[in-house]
């Protein structure tokens, strides 16, 4: 009950401080640009009656649309994880440092209700953002080209889960660190996972095959499973002849265990945030 009030407050604050508007307008811009570009390419290709003969021997039209879709989802994914950290980074750290949280925390509610209420508020916003941005990319692709990503639902769910992992990092940091340090922690860990993912990819590439590199990459994924989740999502998106699949999905795609691990990871971080916040002097 009390947590629900805080959830409402969190969403109302995002709306009042124009965070929601910002996300909405920038998403519209992102999707508009994508639709425009894809539409030009579609019209161009179709005006020639399809792919040139040489090209059509290598890949199909669907491979082309799939390539476009993957590129746009890559951008959406990056925006999503950035926003997960950005919109939540100040909610605890900022209110603790300004003292705003004091008049809230002396009310008859428990610390975990404050924290989980806020968390839930961001979960709702990020769910909407995922649906709008990634869902928008998939829908636009389908509308313009007629190519519908079969695994659209798991893709959206995996991207959302990735945002939740980042959100939980931001919450753990916010209970103890300043706003700035929390942001550094969130982006920093994302960077670690990102570079770890690349090391693993390159290490497992046929020409290289370095077990040490793969191990380092996997270690980074254990610390921060966001990038592994994304690569797992990609493996369900890309067709075999999409160049993205060679880079990201093909060489070393994580298995479904990463999903279970990431859920556990986010839950553990959230529990840690609750424990840390409960002991925090405000």
């Amino acid at each position: 009950m009390a947590a629900r009030i805080i959830t409402g407050l969190t969403i109302r604050e995002a709306r009042r401080r124009k965070v929601l508007w910002g996300l909405l307008i920038l998403s519209a811009l992102f999707l508009g640009l994508y639709a425009l570009g894809l539409n030009f390419v579609y019209t161009e290709i179709m005006s020639h009656g399809g792919l040139p003969r040489g090209a059509s021997r290598l890949f199909s039209l669907n491979d082309v649309w799939n390539f476009w879709l993957t590129a746009a989802l890559y951008g959406a994914n990056f925006l999503l994880v950035m926003m997960a950290v950005l919109i939540s980074v100040d909610t605890l750290a900022g209110e603790i440092s300004s003292g705003t949280i004091q008049s809230i925390a002396v009310k008859p509610l428990r610390r975990h209700e404050i924290l989980l209420g806020k968390w839930l508020g961001f979960v709702v916003m990020l769910a909407g953002y995922t649906l709008l941005l990634a869902g928008g990319v998939i829908a636009i692709t389908s509308l313009i080209t007629g190519y519908t990503l079969a695994a659209w639902l798991p893709t959206l769910a995996l991207m959302f889960l990735e945002a939740l992992v980042l959100l939980s990092v931001s919450f753990v940091g916010g209970t103890r660190l300043s706003t700035l340090a929390t942001g550094v922690l969130g982006f920093g860990l994302f960077g670690v996972a990102f570079i770890g993912g690349w090391i693993e990819q390159i290490g497992s590439f046929v020409l290289v095959e370095s077990e040490a590199a793969v191990s380092i990459g996997r270690l980074a994924s254990f610390a921060m499973p966001s990038e592994a989740l994304w690569r797992y999502a990609l493996s369900g998106v890309t067709t075999s002849r999409n160049p993205f699949s060679f880079i990201f999905g093909g060489a070393s795609a994580p298995d479904a265990g990463v999903v279970v691990y990431a859920i556990g990871h986010a839950a553990a971080l959230l529990a840690l945030a609750v424990l840390s916040f409960r002991r925090r002097d405000l």
Partner: protein, 312 residues
Amino acid sequence: MTSSQAIETANLRKVYNGKVAVADLSLSVPCGEVFGFLGPNGAGKTTAIKMLLGLAAPTSGTGRLLGRPIGDPAARARAGFLPEHFRFHDWLTGAEFLHLHGQLYRMKEADRRQRVPELLARVGLAEHGDKRLRGYSKGMLQRIGLAQALLNRPEIVFLDEPTSGLDPVGRILVRDIIRELREQGTTVFLNSHLLSEVEITCDRVIFIKHGAVVRSVSLGEIGQGALPVEIRIGALPAGAHAQADLLSGLSRWGRDARVEDGRLHVIVDDEAALPEIARWLIDLGIDLYGLIPQRMSLEDMFLQIVGTDGGL
């Protein structure tokens, strides 16, 4: 421990990163008392309030608020708090802010609809309920914070420097509100270093220094007990011997009899000594111009107890 005590603490201690904020706080405040918490900056007043309200966990020691262990939300449901820095969600309007805090107190909507305008009017913000807190002045923020602390008709109200941002009109408002609270039987815990304000409003004050209680004084007691008296007479009798006689004569009624700046000073135990001293001086043939009891103000007491170094 009885529930007639609004606050009871035993050896409450708080150490932040090796620095002692509250050393050893044992106090009890009976229900219905208007209680002043005095001490120099850094004496641990705010930290003590934070511990009582569950904002900071004590390093050691125990405490009860309204009969319940500190940190229990059930006790906080019956308490109100105006924080020292009164920073609130400034994107809310005054009325929205009060509704939010009313919700957090689990107040029914009908109750809030009645209570919010009532309190806005009480703190002089009836016209400003629809404006965002961002546009409020310091004094207005403190007023809305005060309204927030009274929403749930609390049994105890903690006011941490409630007039720091207020002009004289606002200060009178706070004083009136404290008086009303007293009449309703609400316990008030007033943290202030505006001594004149405390002197007017409080039943009892506690002085703390370095995070421990130095002295507890009922304000009715001030002026009782030791009463310094200054005596202005025409001319002091000539000669050291005659002066010594005069001082030893005065010592019958009190102590510390001395001559200072051509005036006589003595500290008596009882006001009844004053007419007797007057009669005695006149009988001696001394011209008496003034016999002035020097009431000890809270400020004198503060300086005497805490010291001019401010306890630093």
